[in-house]
């Protein structure tokens, strides 16, 4: 019971070597099989995720959600998938066929590729490369490329505009994302995901760097394209954006990609800032570590859905101003302050947790003070202009 995953691995290895195969070949085959299983599972979770989201959003909006198809509407997603499977596949005239059909593949591949470096339990990680964080950033960019290809090849003005707006949004919010991911790197001393989880043994990173966690969370939600940043699929703005011309299962793949992406960023948030599989008794029973990981990811996914059901959509110029004039400077300041403060705390021997909490508190207070003075200045500027009366009072 102390190492079930290693036990399964050794059992399979002995089985295959017993068939007379070479040992490196066996290792390669086991890795490929593990990749297939992990990829398949990550994609298949979409079925559960869509149901969870629809039910949760419905309950927050004081209605029931799907409850006809199967007990509690559990089979609703399968019914939708079957419906999408039997739709006609329409490719618009003049569209670039190869690029058009490759775009959903890239989007889904980029989301599932992140699960390769996700530490699920002690000792259970798909690929323990020492550049895990940078790999996640670069794989996310393949999805951006897929969206751009979808828009370019659709032979449709609105798909083009929607795709480029989406790419501009995703690319803009990558900047605070990258900057906020530098902070766990310097706290853990490594980019590998397993190392980041291992170095949260004393204290989870969300207590050492709460502002960085918040910036990462907000930027990730904007990356995925969920409300309040869901201009990409704003039905009232650009008629469904870059996937207008997609019908049937190709559209379904974009949809599935978005949901699995939201779940993936919840998992990333849990791993990088909430300690991943860490919890009481996780080293002794690795399966317990897997359970902790799933619980933390589900809590973060609940927060993502909660945010979606609560906030209204913001406009694109508001979003750009929010990113470039608020989040990015904040991320830069947080990075600089955290780097200096952590080194000072370690060298002078002060308690690390206290120093970081005080530094973050000071940054929050400073940000609020700056925002307040800006708002007051704006209000003063607006009040100087005297308001002309709209209607003349009726005199008898």
């Amino acid at each position: 019971m102390s190492d079930p995953f290693g036990g399964i691995d050794n059992f399979l290895k002995d089985l295959l070597i017993g068939f007379g195969l070479d040992s490196t070949f066996v290792a390669v085959i086991l890795k490929l099989a593990a990749a297939a299983v992990l990829g398949g599972l990550a994609g298949a979770t979409a079925i559960v995720l869509i149901w969870v989201e629809r039910k949760l959003v419905a309950r927050i909006q004081d209605r029931l959600g799907p409850n006809r198809v199967g007990p509690y509407g559990l089979l609703q997603t399968i019914a939708d998938a079957l419906k999408l499977l039997t739709k006609e596949v329409l490719i618009p005239a003049g569209a670039d066929r190869l690029v058009f059909q490759m775009a959903p593949l890239l989007v889904v591949a980029s989301v599932i590729g992140v699960w390769a470096v996700m530490p699920l339990a002690p000792g259970l990680i798909g690929s323990d490369v020492n550049v895990g964080l940078l790999y996640i950033l670069s794989v996310g960019s393949i999805g951006t490329l897929g969206i751009m290809m979808a828009g370019l090849s659709s032979n449709n003005k609105y798909a083009l505009l929607g795709a480029f707006r989406t790419v501009a949004q995703m690319v803009s919010f990558m900047v605070p994302l990258i900057l906020s991911l530098l902070i766990p790197t310097l706290l853990a001393g490594s980019m590998g995901m397993a190392d980041i989880v291992n170095s949260q043994a004393g204290l989870w990173f969300i207590f050492l760097a709460p502002l960085a966690a918040l910036i990462f969370f907000v930027s990730s939600i904007a990356e995925v394209g969920r409300t309040p940043f869901d201009l990409m699929e704003a039905d009232s703005e650009i008629v469904a954006g870059f996937h207008i011309e997609y019908s049937g299962m190709a559209f379904g793949m974009f949809f599935v990609g978005e949901f699995v992406h939201a779940f993936t960023i919840s998992a990333l948030m849990a791993v990088i800032f909430l300690g991943g599989w860490r919890g009481p008794g996780a080293e002794a029973f690795p399966l317990l570590g897997l359970v902790y990981f799933l619980i933390k990811t589900s809590i973060m996914y609940f927060v993502v859905i909660w945010v979606r059901a609560t906030f209204p959509r913001i406009r694109i110029d508001q979003m750009n101003a929010f990113n470039w004039k608020f989040v990015t400077p904040l991320a830069l300041v947080v990075l600089m302050v955290t780097a200096i403060v952590d080194k000072l705390a370690i060298e002078s021997g002060w308690p690390r947790f206290l120093v970081h909490v005080i530094a973050n508190l000071l940054m929050v207070v400073g940000t609020l003070v700056i925002l307040r003075t800006q708002a007051a200045a704006l209000r003063r500027r607006l009040d100087v202009v005297p308001e002309a009366p709209v209607t003349q009072p009726e005199t008898a």
Partner: protein, 118 residues
Amino acid sequence: MALQWLFIGAILLVGASMAALPIALNTLLGPKKPNKNKSETYECGIETVGETWVQLKGQYYIFGLIFLIFDIEAVFLFPWAVAYDKLQLYMVLEGVLFILILAGGLVYAWRKGALEWV
């Protein structure tokens, strides 16, 4: 090491085929009744006028460029952050100086109005 990257390559291919399979299934199972109206470009039910291509604004380029600059900066900063535990205070301050210079560039872009979405 090579095995780890093989896993990454394999999972990317698995992801792509997980998307390709339902699409292929859809192409097999779906009805095929091509009609001239069905393959026209969509524009809320009316006919499209003019070309199906628009010229983009220059603002997209500026956003992409600023992202590129910060991306390269982050790539320089990642080794610095990985070596953080072994650095002395003055080395950390040198990294902070690097970030400050780039923050200055961002402030320039802000003041020049390059960050407005007109």
